[in-house]
Amino acid sequence: MSLHYASNDWYPVADAACLARGPRKTRLLGTDLEVLGPFDHPVVTDMGGRCFPVQVRYNHLWTTIGDDPRPLFDIPEADEPGRRHVPCGVVRVKCSPLRAVENFLDIAHFPFVHTGILGAEPHTEVAAYKAEIREDVDEVWATNISFYQPQAAKSAAGGITTRYEYRVPAPTAAVLYKTCPPRPEAMDVIAIFVQPRSETDCDVWPWMALYDDTTNFADLAQFQQEIFLQDRSILENQRPVKLPLDPKLEIPTRADMTSIAYRRWLKRRGAYYGALTDQT
């Protein structure tokens, strides 16, 4: 049942750089797939030769294995002029795809996991912010977040208090808006698109749309990759591996309001793939 729900979403299965190296053998929701280039005319099949629909968005190739797919979410900022789009490669993580998203929504870990970059002691306090399920769009949003960061972005010259907003448009995707050091009035966009290989392992594709015309492309992608590798050391050591939706199993505090909203939202839409539920 959880698989049925999940199968009707779209998922990233390749970017241009990986397809340029040749066909990609991969897995999505437990199904082995082969992705063949070129990137602008791709073909996605299973091992029996069945073809799946494809679309190219946000520098990634997306597919779905469901019979009745929901539309791929929109990121309107992707079309804003002046933003550089940076696909940051892929990171394989042995964790639930939902734990990977939840970690991305969490700021309280910055001083401990991304020490000296996204956070530093003694600046550990998470001030009250707003987290909600927006009924009109059926998405999770967290707003009014601010946090002190020693090196908020590749383009940041020193420590600043960064403003954050989060948006969860699909169970396995999250978009972060954060203060853009060179243009204080604008917000950088950083997203993660998670490809669930199974309920307990995933490929994570970070992607950015930035106002940074000075840092070179490889450095930008590497900055994001390094941060995600730090997250991986956490994600592969959480138990249970699947994300518990029963609020009694893990103890949240006020800093976890986004996580609480995310779990509640998953539960009410029945997005149980990668979740620990009464049914599983």
Partner: protein, 215 residues
């Protein structure tokens, strides 16, 4: 589950954290700056992070993920995201029995830890892991000579290696994985202790070569 030997006291100095396992239960064992020891389920109650990746701050164990502090009693004493909050007493780790004797750390997941009684004073030599069953380790001990002579069983899990007395304490980690804690007669020379340590390596190799492991 009886109390099990999970390692040597000297391998866990103050401010150190180690991971252990008893009867399939994943465990964190750590020592505070003041020397106190604690053994808990290796899981942070906040978001399930393995506490064995944590670090000791003063007399508390801090979780690596969000830095929550847990005192030796298991109670959460500090949440860095809310520095002014006094954490509710309901936030605490799952505690296990732990005690130390003869330089060995004993853990019990169901009760107060009761160390295995040695019939004579012995010194800790080393702790090692063999990828075979407990029975295969014991079998190999009977057939691995030390300086040309076979160890002679002398009751209560003790062996005589010439004039040296030796105890093998085993903690089964799985059907083909065993933690072995080795103790010897006290007051041996460094040279003899090194020779015994090498004998332990040979014992492990023999056990792994002939044992039920790897099947």
């Amino acid at each position: 589950m009886p109390s099990m030997p999970v390692g040597l006291s000297r391998d866990l100095p103050p401010k150190r954290v180690m991971r252990a396992s008893v009867g399939g239960q994943d465990i964190v064992v750590w020592r505070a700056s003041n020397g106190d020891i604690a053994a808990w389920d290796n899981r942070c109650p906040h978001r399930g992070m393995a506490l064995s990746h944590g670090f000791v701050r003063g007399n508390a164990l801090a979780c690596l993920y969000h830095g929550w502090h847990y005192e030796q009693s298991g109670r959460c004493s500090y949440i860095p995201a809310h520095p002014d909050l006094d954490p509710p007493a309901t936030i605490h780790t799952t505690r296990f029995g732990v005690t130390e004797r003869d330089g060995v750390i004993w853990v019990d997941t169901t009760d107060t830890a009761k160390p295995g009684m040695l019939t004579e004073p012995l010194d800790p030599l080393r702790s090692l892991i063999a990828e075979v069953s407990e029975a295969a380790v014991e079998a190999a001990c009977h057939s691995t000579p030390f300086e040309g002579e076979m160890p002679q069983p002398s009751g209560s899990g003790l062996y005589a290696l010439g004039t040296i007395r030796l105890a093998l304490l085993t903690n089964p980690l799985g059907p083909n994985r065993t933690q072995v804690t080795v103790l010897t007669s006290p007051g041996l020379s460094l040279q003899t202790r090194l020779a015994l340590s090498r004998w332990c390596e040979t014992l492990r190799r023999n056990a792994e070569a002939t044992g039920t492991g790897g099947a």
